[in-house]
Symmetry: C2
Subunit: 130 residues, 2 copies
DNA sequence: TATAATATTGATAATCGTTCCGATTACCAA
DNA sequence: TTGGTAATCGGAACGATTATCAATATTATA
């Protein structure tokens, strides 16, 4: 079961991680590709997906799933909640404190062993009201 | 903006809804298709998807999205939380009381207008420990 | 520095869940 | 009945993602 993979440096992967850490847009793979294809002549979309996959496995980024047909990525892996605007599809980080006691409540009530939880709010964002 | 659609009865749609209400497995479209294709000779997978879509629009069922590549459906539309087992992929309903004050907290902190929220716990379920 | 070993790349094909389409059928009101 | 219009089936089409593979880039070692 030894599944050790030794990664070599990759300029593409380093830029993808830096880009994700520099924005709070929670972008899609396609957006990342569009941003970097000027910088890396001949960049392939599969390279973006491959490296997102590696970064996910390393726990350096997170993947969000919201109803839509595509995934979004987050360079902020510290626990926090999200708000999803149903009108403009923006994903916002919420400044709420994260309640860590919930895991224990679930475990006590069910016998399950909770590792983490996701909390997402849906509605209309600040910008879209008016 | 008048988008009134008059639906005719459909035995397939009625069975899909009844099936979803009779189980807490949170099944996929494929599972529903497998269950009903014996009952409806020549049932089409697209019929299952179309009717799931209509039922969603009517608010009679809910669609869940969890990391995987496919959606799951829930015949229980009253607010409740879910636990997702990372080992067996089961989705369990949680017997926790739903906190309705969270919406207001978010709205107060952000200026957003929250309609609802989703709370999902991830870990190892009762069955899979041992 | 030179070289061997191997991870990474870009291009493309393949996959998967889902939606769309056209021809036909079923339902319902008049 | 009959006309109007959803609903159906089956398959093609779709979009996001993953797999394949020869060429290239990176690293470890000599």
């Amino acid at each position: 079961m030894k599944n050790e993979v030794k990664y070599k440096r990759s300029r593409q992967r380093e830029r993808i991680l830096a880009l994700l850490r520099s924005t709070d847009l929670h972008p899609t793979a396609g957006w990342i590709y569009d941003q970097l294809k000027g910088e890396f002549k001949g960049l392939s979309l599969s390279t973006v997906y491959r490296n997102l996959s590696i970064l996910l496995g390393q726990g350096l980024i997170a993947r969000l799933e919201y109803g839509g047909t595509f995934g979004r990525f987050d360079g902020n892996v510290s626990p926090h909640y999200h708000f999803i605007c149903e009108q403009c599809d923006a994903v916002l980080d919420l400044p709420l404190p994260v309640d860590l006691s919930l895991n224990k409540k679930v475990d006590a009530a069910t016998g399950c062993q909770t590792k983490f939880y996701r909390l997402e709010f849906y509605g209309i964002c600040d910008q879209c009201q008016g």
